[in-house]
């Protein structure tokens, strides 16, 4: 257990929330597009399928490794979003609440990364 090891999952979580913010922003932009379905980013449990995908990406050292996000996150149409008469399933309030909570989570994560780095600096400076 070390400080760098603590930061790595935090930065991955920040990546997840930044990606999700992109999707939510696109949803908000499409509030009036006929037939547009609201999308959502889902975490995929590291089950067989996810593992398989990672293995398939790295069978040869000449292969270009993926970012890894492909195996952990999945974009899908939000099944809980109610579809309106023109086929659009973007609910302005729903998406705005998601944007706000996603933003808050990202801020919390960035504060935690900052705290970890401050701890590292503290240790590097002999606790001064």
């Amino acid at each position: 257990m070390d400080i760098i090891g603590t930061i790595s999952p935090l930065t991955q979580a920040m990546d997840f929330h930044l990606s999700r913010q992109n999707l939510l922003t696109a949803n908000l932009a499409h509030v009036d597009t006929p037939g547009f379905r609201a999308r959502e980013l889902y975490r995929v449990d590291s089950g067989f399928e996810g593992t398989l995908e990672v293995v398939m990406q790295a069978t040869d050292e000449r292969h270009i490794a993926g970012s890894g996000s492909a195996a952990e996150w999945k974009v899908d149409v939000d099944p809980n979003a109610p579809v309106g008469p023109n086929g659009n399933s973007v609910d302005l309030d729903r998406e705005a609440v998601k944007v706000a909570s996603n933003n808050l989570r990202y801020d919390a994560l960035s504060t935690m990364v900052k705290g970890s780095l401050q701890g590292l600096r503290w240790a590097a400076q002999d606790g001064r």
Partner: protein
Amino acid sequence: MSAPGIFSALEVAGSGLTAERGRMNVIASNLANARTTRTAEGGPYKRLDPVFEAKSLAPNAFDPVMRNIHKVEIGRVERSDEPGQLLYDPEHPDADEAGYVEMPNVNVVTEMVNLMTASRAYEAGVTSIESIKSMASAALRIGK
């Protein structure tokens, strides 16, 4: 652009603002011409309706999120061919032999409602831009 970041989110939000502003322009044109009986095409003004379309930001990107981010743009502006209300006004220069004038098929109440939804959607876009900006500054504060 390979992975979604601050700037891709800003680009998408910006495309939403542009599209909503375009829609407001069309609505303004409809409202301004609610009583126009002469046009270049002949006949009364016909209501215009912008149709929004989704356009992928990076259709060939490796990142699945990136492939699923769509900008919004006004694909086409449709002209409604519904007949307008016939007004009995024999004095009107555009009246037919029976004394009826065909008015534009613009419903002012509908246009006002559309104007309000466009305005709210624009505000939602501005809110998401504010949100992205605050996330960017939170990330920048890590280094301080």
